[in-house]
């Protein structure tokens, strides 16, 4: 089975800190995605990547950046964390011939 691993389940960071959320998949998938999940808003796409070093903005990219230096790893970066970025962050991946996603377990980030 495809495994998508997010390095941290829970994180607490201070306002203004630079935060890195890491995601690794082990099935050679081309596409990787970062979502944030908030009550009543569902999943909102932040950024996605369809190849190494390629990235595209999703629906809510403001305040975030991403990095994909290797195919298996997709990092989400909060340049200067703010309290409104407190949320559950979900990473997902899929291959070009797959239509569904495989998700990681999520990182619950609290910015204080």
């Amino acid at each position: 089975d495809v495994k998508v691993t997010q390095s941290s389940r829970y994180l607490v960071k201070r306002t203004g800190e630079k935060v890195f959320l890491e995601c690794v998949q082990d099935m050679d998938h081309e596409n990787m995605f970062w979502y944030r999940q908030d009550p009543g808003l569902g999943l909102r796409l932040i950024y996605f990547s369809y190849d190494v070093k390629m990235k595209e903005k999703g629906d809510i990219p403001e305040g975030y950046s991403v990095s994909r230096e290797k195919k298996e790893r997709f990092s989400l970066i909060l340049e200067s964390a703010s309290t409104n970025q407190t949320s559950m962050y979900l990473c997902a991946s899929n291959g070009v011939s797959n239509y569904g996603y495989t998700f990681g377990s999520g990182t619950r980030l609290t910015v204080v």
């Binding site: 998508v4 596409n31 995605f33 979502y35 009543g40 808003l41 569902g42 999943l43 796409l45 996605f48 369809y50 595209e56 979900l90 997902a92 239509y99 569904g100 996603y101 495989t102 998700f103 990681g104 377990s105 999520g106």
Partner: protein, 117 residues
């Protein structure tokens, strides 16, 4: 733009009762639809999907969903729920960027199923 609507944010139900979680989609191209489930403090897991063929699709744990093109719906049903079905359920539709051919999923806002004894 393609989208999905889940009108019910929360559905309370008693154990062994039937349940229907509603999902309506908007799409002008070939439709691929999905239901995902999220148990507390976990990521999303694929429950079932419709890509083509039979309009009734089933999951291994007793859920089923029917693709209804005329009503643009993909409702999720289970004839008898268990306490362990308590979770949040997300409907999703594939979107296709015409100029790049890139596909990604758009999710609904989720329905929380609460099963009580």
């Amino acid at each position: 733009a393609q989208s999905v609507t889940q009108l019910d944010s929360q559905v309370p139900v008693f154990e062994e009762a039937p349940v229907e979680l509603r999902c309506n989609y908007s799409s002008s191209v070939s439709v691929y639809l999905f239901w995902y489930v999220q148990y507390p403090n976990q990521g999303l897991q694929l429950l079932l999907k419709y890509l083509s063929g039979s309009t009734l699709v089933e999951s291994i744990n007793g859920f089923e969903a029917e693709f209804n093109k005329s009503q643009t719906s993909f409702h999720l049903r289970k004839p008898s729920v268990h306490i362990s079905d308590t979770a949040e359920y997300f409907c999703a539709v594939r979107t296709l960027t015409l100029n790049t051919g890139f596909q990604k999923l758009v999710f609904g806002t989720g329905t929380r199923l609460l099963v009580s004894p």
